[in-house]
Symmetry: C2
Subunit: 219 residues, 2 copies
Amino acid sequence: MNSFTEENYLKAIYKLIEKSGSSVSTNAIAEKICTKAASVTDMLKKLSDKKLINYQKYQGVTLTSKGEKVALSVIRKHRLWEMFLLEKLDFKWDEVHDVAEQLEHINSDKLIEQIDKFLNYPKFDPHGDPIPDANGKIQVQKSKSIAHFIKNDVIVMTGVVDHSPAFLQYLDNTGLALGDEIKIKEVVFFDRSLQIIINKKSTIFISNDVAKNILAIKK
Amino acid sequence: MNSFTEENYLKAIYKLIEKSGSSVSTNAIAEKICTKAASVTDMLKKLSDKKLINYQKYQGVTLTSKGEKVALSVIRKHRLWEMFLLEKLDFKWDEVHDVAEQLEHINSDKLIEQIDKFLNYPKFDPHGDPIPDANGKIQVQKSKSIAHFIKNDVIVMTGVVDHSPAFLQYLDNTGLALGDEIKIKEVVFFDRSLQIIINKKSTIFISNDVAKNILAIKK
DNA sequence: AAATAAATTTAGGGTAGTCTAAAAACTATT
DNA sequence: AATAGTTTTTAGACTACCCTAAATTTATTT
């Protein structure tokens, strides 16, 4: 079994590789985990000994398939717990992360399979991120930031880029939620801000900064 | 905040005091936690420094009100999670303990209050043990082992003494569950075994050893 | 190709929790 | 009250994880 800490390292490495598409550096991991590079080096040796990562001094790391499996299982648990908190326990969008961060390390296959069943096998979490299945398979969703759509496009909100409580609260306040239909009514040429219609009802204005952080697909 | 380990020590001390009614010894704690006396002594110093226990070398320990509060909060979480697993996630009676042992250390007031609400504020857990409320208050239930009842008593099963998977599985197999009505049909004089009728339907025989481990109250 | 800068690793040490073995303090017996 | 037995504590050491500071390797600049 892997420790709480090992699981967090593997998850961080997975996410960094996912974002960059290549092997990740010691410093990048240190920043992600909020620790120091020296501590990371220690852990990389340990994870390498356990055959969870491919690591050669000074060369950056990638995950072995064994390591990737662990990372995906942690991510699966995290996202299912987020979903559970939101749907069943009336948590707010921005409250789920910290608790899920703890729950993701609970070790029980039966528990997580039952939670999955209880939620009726969701494929995406409350942020629009895909939930790996029990075998680590991920369903992809080819959504783009809404800053890339043009006037009169009708789209469906599928996720967010920025996961910070501040941003999520902002969305809550504007009434924007996953699954909403969005029509691009106007694109302001000079600052690329948008005028959008949510669910054929309310019309709001959002800045390009916000638009870049909202994901959607063509309807 | 208290560590996972500190919480486990406080919980163990609470349970030992509850059972014995007096202060507990280093050795008793060591046995309960499955560790060595020397490790216990170390931890007792630490808990004493944090004003969670009353401890004088060689004199045994009791909980301070601060320590008792922590212990009760852990027990509350444990029993609510057991209830949740059993009622909402189709866990068996004997499967819940190990997972609840992990979940009891999750730190989130909102989470446990919502679980409590989700379960509709139960007062007793699946083993018939009382669930402390958010303030640590416990509702007592003056039940006795069914070995103490006599012929023709009609009683309701409220709990168990032995919490081992083996015993719980045995009960499952015989069809005995919390809340069942039990009528004492016969008490065999020579070995004090019982013939009982469950819910006015099935008649079964149980040994005195088993009877001593089943709790019930007069109907 | 040196020299400098940046990233990474090593060295040495700290805390939390564990252990074994030995010393000290209680308890019970005579 | 002294001895024997048991319990508890101390001493010293181990693992997991973290740190700072120094050394080493790689990358960049001239």
